[in-house]
């Protein structure tokens, strides 16, 4: 399928209308701008570039800052489907920056509180470590040695002051362990780090604390000091979580406002980006760009409406002398269903404008190759399920759009595997149902004596299928090349190019000669005259190319080499190299497709191996071997088949006609990436 026809717009509008026209272009989102550096006409060079009201850098910085600010609370701002340009908010960059600074300072304050809490938690962890080193059992408690950084105090306080002490120590990294309460006196143990003992002593004295050696009776309580720590850490951790939520809420409270500002800033940025492609005189603004031909009227109407008819629009067809710039952008026009295959094509390159977009052909070629290499109904079902899972995960993720397409590719590959599984009668490696075409497993294992109804009897027949398939793919590539060359009007290339008619003629001749030789048990070649007509004649005709090129170039530059005979060896050498390239190239291209059969056979062999292993055991082990075997084959063979199918598409098919030197049509729209 050829690429979408494009047309070039050259427009002049009044300077006062430029903002409205910019908005109209952005709303349509279909114009691929031509850079002002490509405006080479004499009068245009004197025009100046358009300066936006606010610096693009400032707008962009603030937009990114808001984006980061919202992302930090897991809020992802999105552009609305429709934008009301009439209600566009004018953003005061300074004011909004200050507001952000204020909010960030507020959040910073919360982070400071979190930090203090964290240090308390760490201090408790420290106490725990110290207790583990110096002993934590109350029964053996003694004031720890000088070595320890722990301070352990035992004593009593009036029972009426218990709450006061609890409150004052609540926020401190201190363990306050209540042992026993007798009448109006409470006995406690206070554990803290020595470095905090100054603060702790003060609070204790305020609560009427009196330090005492514990009685034997109290010491016999087997209460563990360590048990108190987790509870306290948990309390502090909960406080931490609350603060963390508060920090997020600071952003969330302002999210609505900032989302609106973000949208306005983004629209501004896009408008400024459009205007970087404008050139202006004192009263007018000039710009140019490529638009799909089908959208021409829509854009015209939009610009005319925005400028109240005060505009000059000139439309140029690609290739006409009036067009600005050399390169015509390409828009691929494939149905949504082909998106995964378009991704494969785009990864290789973008077709040049006016040439064939191979996406629609890649689909069957890729899937047939995949199916021949990975033919199993059950394993195909697994691939489909995996693909569907992937697609559902990545469906709404714009950042992972490629993964979504990849998931769909897996689904397609799974369906191909299912189809070929039915044709070859393979269901998780077993032959549950009779094959519709031939029994791949029986042929590979050498048990296909009864398959007399099939035309495929041996591995050689399978290899032959892939060779025929390869020849078809290569010829399809050659035909596309001829169509592209005819469209470009390069008649010499049509005949003399390696992938031209003479090249194709030699290839066809080679196929016939090889077929003749094989069908005569490798003992006989066709008649010499036939060989000459099939391969010799086009080879001789190819010799014309180099002298023709030389004379054409010499004519253009008016420089001739007087001694033409000296050039003959060079022409001869180039001709020989070209012929060698054609012969070896087409041969290796064709044989390359035999890997499809090879990988298909390997797939079957692996399954046979796992079935043999399973047969050596019984019961659960046997089932386990089959499950693991199938999983291994799905992963390893699936990957191999996918990669090899891609490799064959890229190097044996695309290289015949597809140069991938085109430039993608990238209009500036509301959804453009910045």
């Amino acid at each position: 399928m050829p690429t979408i026809p494009m047309t070039q717009l050259f427009a002049i509008v009044l300077e006062k209308d430029s903002r409205r026209v910019t908005e109209a272009i952005l709303r349509e989102g279909i114009m691929h701008f031509i850079s002002t550096t490509e405006f080479n006409a004499e009068g245009m060079k004197n025009l100046s570039t358009v300066q936006p009201e606010t610096s693009l850098g400032q707008v962009s910085d603030l937009r990114k800052r808001i984006e980061g600010f919202l992302h930090s609370a897991d809020i992802v701002p999105k552009m609305p489907r429709e934008y009301d340009f009439n209600n566009h908010i004018r953003i005061d960059i300074k004011k909004e920056s200050e507001l952000l600074d204020k909010i960030e300072a507020k959040r910073e304050g919360i982070r400071d509180k979190q930090r203090v809490l964290n240090q308390k938690i760490l201090e408790l962890e420290d106490i725990r470590r110290q207790l583990q080193i110096y002993g934590s059992g109350l029964s053996g408690i003694a004031i720890p040695s000088q070595q320890s950084r722990l301070s352990i105090k035992t004593g009593q306080l009036p029972a009426s002051n218990i709450n006061q002490l609890d409150d004052s120590l609540k926020e401190k990294p201190v363990l306050n362990i209540k042992l026993r309460q007798e009448n109006d006196v409470a006995h406690n143990i206070i554990v803290s780090m020595k470095r905090d003992s100054g603060d702790v002593d003060k609070l204790l004295s305020e609560a009427g604390w009196r330090e005492l050696e514990l009685s034997k009776e109290l010491k016999s309580d087997e209460k563990k000091l360590l048990e108190e720590i987790p509870a306290k850490i948990e309390r502090l951790t909960n406080d931490q979580k609350q603060l963390q939520a508060q920090a997020n809420n600071v952003v969330k409270e302002e999210a609505g406002n900032f989302k609106e500002i973000w949208v306005s800033l983004r629209v501004n940025e896009l408008c400024y980006k459009i205007q970087t492609n404008f050139k202006s005189s004192s009263r007018t603004v000039v710009f140019a760009g490529w638009v799909p031909l089908s959208k021409k009227d829509k854009l015209s109407k939009g610009i005319i409406k925005a400028s109240n008819g005060y505009c000059y629009l000139e439309w140029h067809e690609p290739g006409s002398v009036e067009t600005i710039g050399d390169e015509i952008p390409v828009q691929l026009n494939n149905p949504k269903i082909l998106a995964p295959f378009q991704m494969l094509v785009s990864n290789f390159g973008i077709p040049k404008y006016g040439t064939i977009d191979p996406t629609v052909f890649v689909m069957p070629i890729y899937l047939i190759m995949f199916g021949l290499m990975f033919s199993d109904f059950g394993q195909g079902v697994i691939l489909v399920i995996v693909g569907l899972l992937g697609a559902s995960i990545f469906k709404r993720n714009e950042e992972r759009k490629n993964f979504y397409q990849l998931s769909w590719l897996v689904i397609w590959c799974g369906m191909s595997a299912m189809l070929f599984g039915v044709l070859f009668g393979s269901y998780f490696g077993s032959d549950l149902i009779k094959p519709l075409w031939f029994d791949f497993h029986s042929i590979v294992s050498g048990h296909n004596q009864n398959a007399s109804n099939s035309v495929i009897h041996s591995i050689y027949d399978i290899l032959l299928i892939t060779v025929y398939f390869g020849i078809s793919v290569i010829y399809l590539g050659l035909v596309f090349n001829w169509i592209n060359i005819i469209r470009a009007g390069k008649w010499m290339e049509l005949f003399f190019d390696k992938g031209g008619i003479f090249g194709g003629w030699i290839y066809g001749g080679g196929i016939y000669i090889a077929y003749y030789l094989v069908s005569h048990d490798y003992k006989e070649f066709p008649d010499g005259r036939i060989i000459f007509m099939l391969s010799g004649l086009p080879a001789i005709l190819l010799f014309i190319r180099e002298p023709y090129r030389y004379f054409k170039q010499s004519k253009a530059t008016a420089q001739y080499n007087n001694n033409f005979l000296l050039l003959l060896p060079s022409f001869l050498m180039q001709w020989i190299v070209e012929l060698l390239e054609i012969f070896s190239g087409y041969l290796s291209n064709t044989l390359s497709f035999m890997r499809v059969a090879g990988i298909g056979i390997a797939h079957v062999c692996l399954m046979i191996s796992f079935f043999t292993l399973a047969a050596m055991t019984s019961g659960l082990y046997s089932i386990l071997i089959l499950i693991i075997g199938n999983l291994l084959v799905i992963v390893l063979e699936g990957l191999t088949a996918g990669i090899q199918a891609l490799r064959l598409s890229y190097y044996e098919f695309f290289t015949k006609f597809f140069h991938g030197t085109g430039k993608l049509h990238t209009p500036i729209s509301l959804n453009s990436k910045l």
Binding site: G68, H71, S72, E104, R107, N118, Q147, Q240, Q244, A247
Partner: protein
């Protein structure tokens, strides 16, 4: 049976090359430098191997806690690579890991020193010391709580550090400075590293020696800058601190640097014949001895960069890739720490670049 270089390094080479491609690009670090708060900076790390740092920060608000996590992560990278190496190369990784152990030990001794000798009480520093074992079993808690250097040496008994602590404790107490003890630790690190290098296969040994020698040059130049300009030490004292084994800066070169006469001859010759692309840097105009020393530091960094590039582009089945990976990872960690601290202290992007 001797294992071939191919079987020794094929797997780790492929693995590390894949990992090297995931090292944070400078563009991202620049973007982080442009953010206006730590929270925004951490958002940009979300799609990287450092995503878990954001969790630590948003949960604690504590950058030092994040730095501690970074340190743990950095040590883990070494350990992870170590498991794929043969014993001699594994020993080299242990020797490299000792750097972190020594830094941690230095921090623990500093806490003791500040408490007992400087009598200052920094309440928080103890929380950000690593208490887990890196190579040797060192009871960090006991060192922090010790009452004397004898006690610290006792806690380190059975490790090579005990001897150093014994040897320099008197000097620390007399001069009220940990400087010489810390230099001795660093000297031990490089001596131990060089002895591990000598146990490698000849080819691996050559490559490692070359890279470590550049590293030693960098360390020496940093010291000359600090000791001369900030501590005002005499030439003799500076020479005593110099680590032997540098590639371009031997003691004579350091003497030249100290006197700030000119570029050391050894460095000039090296640049002329081995790194001609750096000659433009050498001809940069600088005024003042510190700027000249900083320029030399920059040149040495460029030399290290060239050496690592050579290894990456050269024969893949040797220890070079492992060392380059560590160098690049260390550099990545250093940059992350730097940029996060800059955000924490409100440094602008320009200041950070400077």
């Amino acid at each position: 049976m001797k294992i071939s270089a191919l079987s020794k390094y094929a797997f780790i080479n492929a693995k590390l090359r894949a990992r090297i491609s995931k090292i944070l690009p400078d563009d991202l670090l620049q973007q982080i430098a442009k953010t206006s708060s730590l929270d925004e900076a951490f958002v940009l790390l979300r799609e990287t191997n450092f995503a878990d740092l954001e969790k630590t920060y948003s949960g604690t608000g504590d950058l030092k806690q994040v730095e501690l996590e970074l340190l743990k992560k950095q040590i883990e990278f070494y350990r992870d690579v170590r498991q794929y190496l043969d014993p001699s190369a594994g020993q080299l990784v242990d020797s490299l890991l000792i750097k972190y152990e020594i830094d941690n030990l230095k921090n623990a001794i500093r806490v003791y020193f500040n408490r007992n000798i400087h009598k200052s009480t920094d309440k928080t520093i103890v929380h950000y010391i690593l208490y887990e074992t890196i190579i040797q079993k060192i009871p960090v808690d006991l060192i922090i709580n010790a009452e004397s250097f004898d006690e610290i040496a006792g806690h380190c008994a059975g490790t090579p550090y005990s001897r150093i602590i014994d040897q320099y404790s008197q000097d620390v107490e007399t001069n009220s400075s940990l400087f010489r003890m810390e230099i001795a630790f660093d000297h031990f690190y490089y001596q131990n590293l060089i002895s591990s290098i000598n146990k490698l296969d000849p080819k691996d040994c050559n490559i490692t020696q070359r890279l470590i020698s550049v590293e030693i040059d960098l360390k020496n130049i940093s010291w000359v800058i600090r000791l001369k300009d900030f501590y005002d030490l005499t030439l003799k004292e500076v020479l005593a601190a110099v680590i032997p084994g540098g590639l371009n800066l031997n003691k004579a070169a350091v003497e030249e640097l100290y006197n700030a006469e000119n570029f050391p001859v050894a460095l000039q010759t090296s640049i002329k014949y081995q790194y001609p692309t750096l000659s433009s840097l050498m001809s940069s105009q600088t005024s003042g001895s510190t700027s000249r020393l900083l320029l030399i530091h920059q040149i040495l960094e460029e030399i290290r960069k060239e050496e690592t590039q050579k290894i990456l582009a050269g024969y893949p089945f040797n220890i070079g890739i492992v060392l380059v990976y560590f160098i690049l990872k260390d550099e990545e960690f250093r940059k992350i720490r730097k940029v996060l601290n800059a955000k924490h202290y409100g440094r602008t992007e320009e200041r950070l670049k400077a």
